[in-house]
Point group: D4
């Protein structure tokens, strides 16, 4: 559309219907505005590459979520809303009959894409309580077109559980390490592999875990190379980044 407006302006100049100065004046007002047009095209490219805008349902009303979801579903093959509580899903499920709700990862998804998934992403957790965040990561990466290998409950206090999964781990091109409490899983894994590790601290634990702060700090201070960290409980962010890395050409 913006392209249309620009073309129209250029045609007007070309035909002599618009003087240079007037065109210049209109372009002077236009830049940021039109930028948005181009940015949107960029945005469209991003969509084709993987993902449209994602809805963070938490903090929004059911109505807002439902409306944004429908608007996105009208123009995209894939739509994703995260942190959708069961109550919110109940409130909007009738308006979104095509959407599938995943209660563990608290995600609402429409996926009409057909493309083949690319293997290479591993999602690992330290404990059982970290699984909801891990599922958010795994399903995000899958929706983007990645094939995800889940390795759950391999926390470092029982190193053998982790080491017994060496083969799977060594096949990964990128690993998401999800852990609460002391959050050491990311460092241990990163010490075993030579690929990027995206660490997700979780708010599991109690007391001096301070809702995930302990794990967050531990992961930021990882003595292993190749680790970067996302926000506490941000499974989506880690899955998105891992998916992006795995899909890099």
């Amino acid at each position: 559309m913006d392209t249309e407006r620009l073309r129209k302006l250029l045609e007007d100049v070309s035909r002599g219907d618009l003087g240079i100065d007037a065109a210049l004046e209109r372009l002077r007002v236009l830049p940021y505005e039109d930028v948005s047009g181009f940015a949107l095209l960029d945005n469209h490219r991003a969509l084709r590459r993987g993902f449209p805008e994602v809805i963070l349902a938490e903090g929004k009303t059911p109505d807002q979520v439902s409306q944004i979801f429908q608007r996105l579903a009208a123009h995209n093959d894939r739509v994703l809303a995260t942190r959708v509580s069961p109550e919110m899903y109940q409130a909007i499920r009738e308006q979104l009959p095509e959407a599938v709700y995943h209660p563990v990862g608290r995600m609402l998804i429409v996926d009409r894409s057909k493309e083949e998934k690319k293997p290479g992403v591993v999602v690992a957790t330290g404990g059982t309580s970290d699984i909801p965040v891990a599922e958010e990561a795994a399903m995000t990466a899958e929706l983007m077109g990645n094939c995800v290998d889940r390795i759950y409950d391999v926390g470092i206090s029982g190193l053998h559980r982790l080491l017994s999964k060496q083969e799977q781990i060594q096949k990964a091109r990128v690993i998401v390490a999800v852990a609460g409490m002391e959050g050491a899983l990311a460092s241990v894994i990163a010490g075993l592999v030579a690929v990027p590790v995206i660490a997700v601290p979780t708010s599991t634990g109690y007391g001096a875990s301070f809702h995930g702060l302990a794990a967050l700090l531990a992961m930021l201070n990882s003595c292993a190379n190749g680790v970067a960290v996302v926000n506490i409980d941000n499974g989506f962010g880690a899955g998105y980044l891992a998916g992006t890395i795995n899909l890099l050409k």
Copy 2:
């Protein structure tokens, strides 16, 4: 210049030297880039209104400060560097013969402007130790074209000192309140006036002042209306904002 490039492109289109599609293509690459051209024009307007870019000397090498200062001094009537330590000034004073160093506020200034100052800014401090930050605020506002009334050492533990300055305070159009320790000066002043109060917490104090955190939190929680806060010890920021408000037309 950007305007020149745009005009050239439009003229080419107008003359038929450049096809619509080719022009479109070049504009598609251009937007953000050219945006910068327009933004720079905006920037120029900002400079004329008051202030060019300001140099935060802390964290830079003397060389970097000296070079940026000279570059700015070549195109502006006013140049300001803040947080210039005496040692840094010694290292660069010979390269900047025109610049005046103000040791209390740790500022390095060139001021070739002639315009009349507009009264309306008051800068107040709780104690003697807050004066360096207050001077940074006051001199910034003055350099922008404001006339500043200083009311120092009127901390709230001796309310009478503050109340005895009522007349001066009531004449202000905007007030900068600089205080460390419990930082209550801003609230007390804001309770006495009906104009904006910019609060500057300082890192004076010890122990549970936590380098200004106590004053910062106190100021953010002011029970008085009309108070906003800048970073700890950020005299420049407060002076700049107060100066901007006072100069608003």
Copy 3:
């Protein structure tokens, strides 16, 4: 009234009914007390200028809110209570038939004023979840006599959305920037304009947002000039300050 008492005392002195020493003694006891009389006059002036005392409903009982509201409504054209939960409104609505409840901004308002609104205030938000705080700011400024332009959901991760609003933004005399998460909206806006920006961190987000702390710190550390910050979620404070700045003569 206090003036009456003073006049009476002076008349008594003038008529010789009260000796100098006795008058002096009474004045000696009086000052702070009478000060309050004068201060109240001052207060009255403040009321005429824009705003009477505002009720922070949170932390008070419905009864307390209702009584203070009625008392203020008896003597003022405008009354404002903030942070009024729907439950509290239900409990007191019958006692305050004239008051209008705004559920998004959680405000209870009586507005009998007729004066024309002055344009110049812009309120912008990063996301949809920031709207309640933004509405609190916007409606506060409106009630004070300002005309407010709302620019919502222009967060920095999609810069084009913000840049497409350039025209509106450039018209502002003062801008309220409301954002949670990384809170960068204020800096980006302040980099585009030459007017004061009042930043409001919001508690939207999760994990390491620490209920708004991340946004608060980011805003305090803004690398752009002309930004000051209010308390987390303090839409009222920002709206009040922006309104005060815009109404400055």
Copy 4:
């Protein structure tokens, strides 16, 4: 009783019924144990002076509170339980028919003492929301035998309200200053008087008040002399200390 045991031992030694070494051995085991006897006597003295042990109901089960209360009521003229929620009171009221519940201060009290109250304690609050904590302080001091003057809602953003109470304030021998938000009330009051000020930060406020941390830090950093601070919302502690100071002979 312990005295009895000691006397018995000494008599046995005196009568030759107990050898020196055996006595020594029994004393060697005894000291800490018997210390408790003497300490208890001390404790009894403390009770007579003002207060028996006080029950912090929060964190205990209704049953625990009820039993401890009854045990104390059997041997003391005055019994006090603090932080008693209405629900807890409902659960135990039948077992404690003599106890009076004060819902604002959330206290449960038995007071059979007849002694005259000694004037000298002032309890002041910044706002209406601080009253529950202030009542806890005031009623504690009263129960100890002090006469308390309440000065509520004299927060520093409207200095005139505080200053109009100068006469009452100047009569105090000790002042409890209760305030949330920026907590400056204590400093302002301490600047006006020459008596001890016990500051109580409250958890009223929101955002960067961090549940009373802002007020706590502000009070600890008071620039006025003669201020000491108790825990956030600890009305009891402040009232107890103020009462102790006022009753000092």
Copy 5:
């Protein structure tokens, strides 16, 4: 002086030289201003009672300290500067020949008063490293006219050391408890006595003492009644408050 001005005004009114309205007008401008006059009288009373304004040397230049000290020494029998480093003392000692420097407590004192000291203050420390802060407290109380009993190095890890001082402790009318690390001294002492305990956390210790934060929090959470806390390392504040309490009539 202010009294003089008021008397003059009243005399003018009395003589008919000044009309009621004109007098009223002048009084209207006067209140806050004249308040300061009265407040100063109040201040004078405070001085006679114990202490003039005290100089916190830290954060001031040697020049500022020297000038303020001389000004105070001209009108007061007692002058006190705290946190005076040996370097600062060297820089100003010649200008202040009468002042005595106490290097342990880092205080600079002039004391020309002759009045008898009143016994009743005990200052106790947990360890040897807390002595500088304790000396600041003790010497402040002494300068105010109190007689101070020092009980040093009685930290709770060797309870017997503390218990062996029971007799001294039981004689106190008010106790200052100075301790770093876990800061439990205040609670233990308060459990032994029935008089006010002023707790001073110190920044001794390392690691998770976080420069005194651990001791500060521990003291604020004391499970013993009758404890209030001052800022970390604030020996002066504790000594001043203890002195004030002991001198209460």
Copy 6:
């Protein structure tokens, strides 16, 4: 099993059925994997020594807890789940008829072991509110085969209560000290004994206890030797460690 696989490999090599290089290749893939086999044997040894894996119920669904519990109960004499809320117990009690629920310590236990308990563990608390955490510690140590002596409500504000238990305390081989608020119990006890003290901070308290942070920091800064600390409210961890120490041979 892993041993079987290894034996099979070696036999194949021995019989010449597997070449050296092929065997080497399989071992190269195997190491970490087989390590897990050995580690599991280790694990089995750990189980026999005292404790199988323990279930932290909090953060898991009732279903997950029930399934893990049943799986462990099938192979172990002792099974322990901690932080089991009454609601969770209601949801799974029918599936676990043998399990005993202890509501104070919120533990679910199966204990079919017959071995005699070894005396030596003391669990002490500062107050009544600390008992749930203390019970978690005590019952954990008991389940491991220790005999536990409970000394509750001996907080340091009434030192005599603690000192009267000297005899019991002196008999301990290891002591768990459970306390909230200022958490000084651990230091005082450690000052009285020459055995290890495991300190458990609890989240009892309010305000500046910051959910147990104050007690945690105090315990970490203990001036007494021989104290180590576990997470806030981590009764299980302390009981487990104390039990392990007491059972050391």
Copy 7:
């Protein structure tokens, strides 16, 4: 070597020189130990892929750094030590004649590799003060075999500077965004591209930047997708991760 030992063992078994049980026994002791052998092989593979172990010089003595450096230089084509102060370099330069010191990034490097660099990494900074950290990132990635495009001083307060670099930014396969203060650069860049962004908060700034905490939190809360964060000032970590991502096949 470990492989050698294993081969020897297998040959012994194959030749019948070692019985199955004896071999099994030796393998049982071996696993973890030998694991290390395999892990080292893994490590070797990692070395070939990019990087040997890196030396964090800070916290080590010059001697330790020099020795480790020499040992690594004996077996590797590339050696890297980070956070090498000029003083430390002076102390060890004679022992490491081949090593090149880069004072801006504070790195000591030996690079004997000849392989061609792969383009795709962009390193951007918000300000001039962030350059040392950025150089650490850039040089690390270069040493790994990446070609790095530096875009410095494009902080968001002057959006046009960043936008004018659009072309360079859009060519990146992975971007390192280095910024202090409010740290918004990462979000703004991530909003413009569809590739991974590694955010590095820096400790530049003052006051409420809390040594990089503000930037760290802001980056963790980025509202843009595809951002992960490393430790404050950890240029090496970011460069290593970006290099790893860019070299992924």
Copy 8:
């Protein structure tokens, strides 16, 4: 001595030289005081068991350290001062000719004991920078009579280094795990053994390690059983506790 006094008193009673009431009176004054006597005996027992009082040199003057050291050396076979800087040692070495200074662990030691050391203590570190703290722990345990096995630089990012030390680790009766950064070493070790692990966080690292806070929190949140934590950098405390556990009979 105290025993002597008691015996004398009993003999006086026995001989009739002291009446019952008089004896009772003297005992009443005596308890706490004499308690100290017994406690001191206790203390003596503690000394024989392992360790006299230890001197924390940091925060004391060289003179204080020297005097306390000499006093202890006069009555004890072993004397230990920790955190002795090289400067302090220089200042006092002549007064303590027998004392040996260990610069790595910053300890000053006199050891005249001859008893055989008991094996069982392992001290492990994550990195080279943790060695000073580890040495403080190891030498403390050795001085107490333990034989210490040091396993340094086995951080978890290279798991093979740790696993290759399995044999040594499995022989330990108690392990001290010293680590900075993410502090995961303690958890990994505790997952491999069935003996107590004392974790020591160190302040090595930078940025979000916050001087050891990250490691401290990680260790407190260890998901492995049997871990307890001491203060940051508190090698002495960990060594003392480990030594005590190993020497338990």
